[in-house]
């Protein structure tokens, strides 16, 4: 059974208005449009399928219950993402509550911005790998980040929240978001360059 939303018929504002007026079908349409992104984000943060499913359900149940609180100051999806990321972080904290290092407090070793791989990419990854293979590579790269960097990267670069929205969602300062984002991007660049580099272009020393 196809579960794709009709590509031309989706009107978020109208669906939210209808859902607020009591049209549960409109809310179901919003779920169908966004569930895959919420589920992906939940998996990326919790790194666990069962937790991701719980997050998916809790997110849409809460969004439905509190729909009247959504004032339209942001996009509906941004509001949903905020609920989802909080649910996912709660799961993560619960699961790792016996750990002594807080998840949102990265230890600054001063080495996170080190650049080792200086090489141009000799290929366009989208042309070289199937969508499935590339998806696996990117998933694994994101999952290798420290949780504090990973969450910022997911919100800013995958879910495309603004720096300000990311800061507000994670209760971080703007400068903390910027610093974590830079480190996340550089670490991912490092990992992807190892895979995508032109193998003959590896001779530079740097920093």
């Amino acid at each position: 059974m196809s579960t794709f939303a009709a590509p031309t018929a989706f009107d978020e504002t109208a669906l939210v208005a209808a859902a607020k007026a009591g049209d549960s079908g409109a809310f179901s349409e919003l779920i169908r449009h966004y569930d895959r992104r919420v589920f992906r984000m939940a998996k990326q943060i919790t790194q666990n399928d069962d937790d991701a499913e719980d997050v998916l359900q809790e997110t849409f149940l809460k969004a439905y219950t509190h729909l009247e609180d959504f004032q339209g100051n942001s996009k509906f999806y941004t509001w949903v993402v905020r609920i989802a990321v909080n649910e996912a972080l709660m799961k993560l904290r619960k699961r790792r509550s016996d750990r002594t290092v807080p998840l949102d407090d990265p230890i600054d070793t001063g080495e996170d911005e080190v650049v080792r791989e200086i090489a141009v990419w000799d290929q366009n990854p989208e042309d070289t790998y199937s969508r499935e293979e590339l998806g696996t590579i990117l998933d694994e790269a994101v999952q290798s980040l420290k949780p504090a960097y990973r969450t910022v990267f997911i919100l800013r670069d995958i879910e495309e929240l603004s720096i300000e929205e990311t800061a507000e969602t994670l209760n971080l300062s703007i400068s903390a978001v910027k610093s974590r984002l830079l480190r996340a991007r550089l670490q991912l660049r490092e990992k992807l360059t190892r895979l995508f580099k032109n193998k003959g272009d590896d001779a530079f020393a740097y920093l």
Binding site: R36, L186, L192
Partner: protein
Amino acid sequence: MLTCKQFLQELDEYLEKSLDAAEYAELQKHVNECPNCFVVCDTTEKTVKVFKGMDCKPVPEDIRGRLMDAMEKKMREKCGPKDPPSVP
């Protein structure tokens, strides 16, 4: 003269063009003169781009089925009192 390390610290601002013209010009000058920073800048930009274009797989049918079951239950609870005739 900007060092590579200083450039790197401003890399995101440079990529997002969120600097004033003078600062941007200084970074641009560095990236044009430094082959290593040029490569790092280019590959960081490509890294961000490849994630933005990342495929998003559908939710597995069983998981979506359980989600919609939970939602229907919640929707019935919310709409429930409206369905039967009101009893004083």
